[in-house]
Symmetry: D2
Amino acid sequence: MAIVLGPNQYGKAETRVVRVYRDDGRHELRDLNVSTVLRGDFADAHTHGDQVNVLPTDSQKNTCFAYAKEKGVGEIEDYALDLARHFVDDIRSVTTARVEVEEYPWERIRVGGQPHPHAFARASSEVRTAAATVIGRHGRGTWYRIVSGLDGLVVMKSTGSEFHGFLKDRYTTLAETDDRILATSLTARWRYQIHRAKPKSWDEAHSQIRQILLERFAGVHSLALQQTLWEMGKAVLAARDDVAEIRLSAPNRHHFLADLAPFGLDNPGEVFFAADRPYGLIQATVQRDDAEDAGPAWDSAAAFA
Amino acid sequence: MAIVLGPNQYGKAETRVVRVYRDDGRHELRDLNVSTVLRGDFADAHTHGDQVNVLPTDSQKNTCFAYAKEKGVGEIEDYALDLARHFVDDIRSVTTARVEVEEYPWERIRVGGQPHPHAFARASSEVRTAAATVIGRHGRGTWYRIVSGLDGLVVMKSTGSEFHGFLKDRYTTLAETDDRILATSLTARWRYQIHRAKPKSWDEAHSQIRQILLERFAGVHSLALQQTLWEMGKAVLAARDDVAEIRLSAPNRHHFLADLAPFGLDNPGEVFFAADRPYGLIQATVQRDDAEDAGPAWDSAAAFA
Amino acid sequence: MAIVLGPNQYGKAETRVVRVYRDDGRHELRDLNVSTVLRGDFADAHTHGDQVNVLPTDSQKNTCFAYAKEKGVGEIEDYALDLARHFVDDIRSVTTARVEVEEYPWERIRVGGQPHPHAFARASSEVRTAAATVIGRHGRGTWYRIVSGLDGLVVMKSTGSEFHGFLKDRYTTLAETDDRILATSLTARWRYQIHRAKPKSWDEAHSQIRQILLERFAGVHSLALQQTLWEMGKAVLAARDDVAEIRLSAPNRHHFLADLAPFGLDNPGEVFFAADRPYGLIQATVQRDDAEDAGPAWDSAAAFA
Amino acid sequence: MAIVLGPNQYGKAETRVVRVYRDDGRHELRDLNVSTVLRGDFADAHTHGDQVNVLPTDSQKNTCFAYAKEKGVGEIEDYALDLARHFVDDIRSVTTARVEVEEYPWERIRVGGQPHPHAFARASSEVRTAAATVIGRHGRGTWYRIVSGLDGLVVMKSTGSEFHGFLKDRYTTLAETDDRILATSLTARWRYQIHRAKPKSWDEAHSQIRQILLERFAGVHSLALQQTLWEMGKAVLAARDDVAEIRLSAPNRHHFLADLAPFGLDNPGEVFFAADRPYGLIQATVQRDDAEDAGPAWDSAAAFA
């Protein structure tokens, strides 16, 4: 028996890069939170404190800023992929790089009805995400996968949701209902196909997928949050050949009917208490049965421990 | 010398009331966070543990739900005022009531381009606020004030902001600049006139004031955040006789130019690091010199200690 | 009628200063979060964008770091007072300065039972606070007040708390109880006397006051949270002539008895659900009837709007 | 090609269970945050909205409370294991259950130097964790694994940390140092052996492992955070045969030396700026090369997407 170093990785987390394009009077801006994760030949740093193979996280941060100038920040999937490829191609000790990007949305302030050329308001608290994973083979980062997504898409239906016919055990007290509020703050992550049907535009793909998720949430008459998630995911895959799989994580933000009977008031689905904790948490994957292999595409820093 | 009870108050904080209007197929919803604050004859509860004058905070919570049905939730200023008046009018020990409401914005999900009748998405993380303060005189809650506002209006200008000519002391190292990013997450609170020029519609007033704040943030060529705040507040008061005063609190969300020179790159206002802490905090009041008296209109629960 | 500039202030918020004393092998550390608030002759910055009287917040930040070296960081009340005096004495446009300090507690890691000379663990999430307010008179900052306190002292009693005999109205459904859990996360702020009975040691005063608060929370058989707060505050003032007044703000962290009857189980005060929102919020001041005047000692940046 | 349901799970997250033991005058309390995750035969709920196999998350919540009475809450590993076994044994559609528990520490308030029998203060913001995963085989939950851990162990060394000899690329500007502050907020998760060397007491194991982590953090003269993590993990496995592997995740909470030279002050490791973002994030596993298989022991709800 021996004690050995197992899976390990390191990087610079949450570098806040803001890129302004000001080539003409009408500015554009991209507001990013960038995290790098490197895997490779770092055993000596652990076991002997030898940094010869260790690119400082400070250098990784510098690279995020420099690439925002050198390569620019167009679609975040490309920016993440450029950075991940660089670490694999140019740093000899790195065998796998994952670059995770969050993008915060802004919209132009309207002045007198016209969009302003350089003044912006934060559009929502929803976050667009992209993660590029690159593996070096034969000294070059040729294998890669892209997982895109969104965090904090907060949605609510005030009707069109039922929950009944469920399994009952000794500890079940929940009443069945054929009309309830359904609300969640959706986290979605989808993995693109790379070789078979890569999207022409990451932005267009993101926009369409987001719209499908919204429309299916609205349109499905829900018998359970599970069913809604499945229908949302299925619709995304049906519409886009370039999506290999999608993972959905949905906290059930419970809205309980307020009991107004003690005050002589009825409450036919009108007044609700929005609860914090506990909450149901429903998680589902919808995938193609012939999807490209994922490799380590899903191995995020957050999932490490 | 004696040890005495000084200012004191109590209430139920953060009751999460969701009101659905479903009278026809097209639902409306109001999503609120309600806090009540009562002042009055509560000395015996402190000094002798005697609750005879103390309405439980649980009852206050119940009242928030019941009023959402009995009185309904239209404009949050009216809902807050109804509740505050009730506590002063109907609870004999209460001499002053303040009801604070936060409202979270939702917008209809569009399906096939059409707004859905009962499916919604959270519009932004910005919060609309209203606080009604009612004082009982001669046994009736006739005196009142309304302070409305917004939290988390996050705005950024990528140019049109300078900062120079400032006072320099022994500890000053900041370089002067004639072009920088100006960004903040604005908190605004404005107090309406009640007797001289009360708004016809709280919703309309809120909407116009918000738009003025946005337009002035965008339009003012800024020599300092102080100047921008003054111009924003001044424009609100100039446009609306019904606003007695406005208070603005603006953290300066610093965006520092990334130093790309070590990598042989120039950076003419293109790549920035968005910093977290520390941050400048600029706070200003703009008011009428003949405004109605405020009384305790500004005495929030958050400001107590 | 005119639109005028009202109360205004600015400063650098949340500068994270860590001071290490390493004069011998046994290090000491002070971990601070420092905010400066300046008031004075800043009207031109607002109305004309003229910064000639405006010391940049960046310079204020630099001063926080420089003073940690020049003056050192002993007791945080002294550090705050030194900084506030400096701004009033040395910056001609400043008439009032308030410096707010939060201190995070650390304790030595014990190795083999012995406290380590330079390795520390964060002791708790409780925060010690101090705010020094200095007013310039005749060109010198001679008037001052000190408000000290603590945030996040989380305490719970599993018995020894009742709540009954309360006022009942139409909306009251709460059952009376003679045994419940009482829990809160206490915020306390106390103002010291400066001229009559200034403490010899701020650290000793803080330590004793904290212990009194804890002991009274534990020792008082509570008929209401109001009563517990009053007894806590009264005991502090009784023990220390140098405290002019104390403000206590206590969210009632409700613990509801879980209903186990449907499962054939009794629950005599054994299993509870800890709720998040809403919560009662009880706030009280205990003061001397002959206390020194407070002036603007309580006017914090957080209370501005 | 077909679109199919992939990995999915659901449960009740963050049920806040507080258990009081009051059999004699000296109370004990356990303060828990419990999450359940069920996997099994739930395809019909997704694809057809059929809940016949779905135990409501509300029932799972009830079970958490009921078990706190029926089985009690001793060591959280046992409580989690009892719950997970129940779901696999008693709910026919469940093939795997994972129950995750966070425990918040409390200590007795001391009154007059004596520990109080029923008054407590929150000891720290550190959280103890346990996750029990049970798989049903032949209709019984016989296979299980336990992963325990801690969150938020915040530690700092004011010296005894170097960082030099690292790999330098085009984007490297970091200076080498032989004396810096090393600080982190440690997340640790360790998996126990079940068949070969199960701990006699989960509490004793947790306590010893925590102490080893602290002592090694303090004792290792660090050439990199990687080295410190390795030494911490190695010491845990060396001391305890019952630990199969340990995962450590450590944000590098950077403390930058304040530049006081512009003010004519030297700064030999005395005054630091504690930065928020970005931060290095170092993650490592230390394991036995002959450890028991982990199965799905690490598949947490948080890691799903």
